[in-house]
Amino acid sequence: MRFVDEFRDADTAHALSAKITALCEPGRQYKLMEVCGGHTHTIYKHGLEDYLPEQITLVHGPGCPVCVIPMGRVDDAMALASEPDVIMTSFGDMMRVPGSNGSFFDAKAHGTDIRMVYSPLDSLKIARKNPDKRVVFMAIGFETTAPSTAMTVLRAAAEGLTNFSIFCNHVTIVPAIKAILDSPDLRLDGFLGPGHVSTVIGCRPYEFIARDYGKPVVVAGFEPLDILQSIYMLMVQLSEGRAEIENQYARVVPWNGNTVALKAIGQTMELRPYFEWRGLGFISHSALKVRDDYAAFDAERLFSVPGVRVADPKACQCGEVLKGVLKPWECKVFGTACTPETPIGTCMVSPEGACAAYYNYGRLTRHRVKEASGT
């Protein structure tokens, strides 16, 4: 059991594990969803499921920004990138996401000018240096990255840049959580709230989960002990019959979020009436578009975007994985036709995707141990 030695405070982890086990009611099964892909990564990397009693199942949520982008939006981006004089810029995570006709990397190999950037501000620099080109930034991510895009648009406007725009695919986490709560597929007992998203939006937006659905939420940090501590806090609430919003990651997440960031988002973007999420389908008011005031920086208005809806490949079950209905290894193509080198679905592309995290750390979880030992 090598994971036991892998993090500094294995003793603390075992102590938390014992306290969590002690809080389980006999005969009751608990399903806790970690919303954030970063948490999923930590859970697999450190084999945290092995610290939990059989009664607790961790369900992986939709909080992987690359994973939830539907294929149609990738195809739209590809169409934008193929327009004359366009330079498309994108975060590295997005480069391998498959569209109907391959990924950004494939298109780049065939001569399309797609460039990987670390920050949207790097795209701005490319625009300044290439005044005869039109630079389109593929804006993706939850509220963690939306403020950066917003600040970049504000900067472009202040500089009077006329050859920079964004293809806005920013999504908001709360409507996705609500969609999962409303789904009949899954009965959850509580949530580990996303850490970095909450740095921006704070803890208040989750209050409806406790108030209207009676489920507890604990906003969690990213280290293994943060996650175990947060699970313990959820279990204390459940054992006491409470449903509240608690902040385990208060050393980074302010209760009210980052008001400057929220203001920048509000100034440049507004909610779309609806947006398609991979696996979750169309969700009302779940994504952002560029406001009219900043239309000059909106690629969807500057170019003709096909806007075609493309069904995911039949073999791919990312949708079920994103909803937490399937575990990664229960997908038919997991680890065979679909691997990080040749991903069919988005969950295998991003390091935050549940499938990639599980594949990369291919650990003997307790399920596998049971299977292997024939018990």
Binding site: F7, Y118, S119, G141, T145, F222
Partner: protein
């Protein structure tokens, strides 16, 4: 992309109040600190950086444990740091 990378603020850029030079694991790069304008960091303080923007101030202990965590992540962290090293924000 969603990883928050801790960096130590070294100095502010003259004429560009929103930009600061930070040190991330020995790599010095310019980032935007405009999102912290309510409570700007001072040189020597630590921030958590997302895609070129400081999103929150953190203390040195949190920075150290965040960095240790990131290094444990392996490839995803290496990729993020390599991307940061390529970044040339002006």
């Amino acid at each position: 992309m969603c990883l928050g990378i801790p960096g130590e603020v070294i100095e502010f850029l003259p004429d560009q109040p929103d930009l600061a030079r930070v040190d991330v694991s020995g790599v010095r790069r310019v980032i935007n600190i405009g999102l912290l304008s309510d409570d700007p960091p001072k040189p020597g303080e630590w921030v958590l950086i997302h895609v070129g923007f400081a999103l929150s101030k953190i203390d040195e202990d949190e920075a150290a444990s965040a960095m240790q965590f990131l290094k444990g992540i392996g490839q995803a962290y290496d990729d993020e740091l390599a991307a940061l090293a390529e970044s040339r924000i002006e």
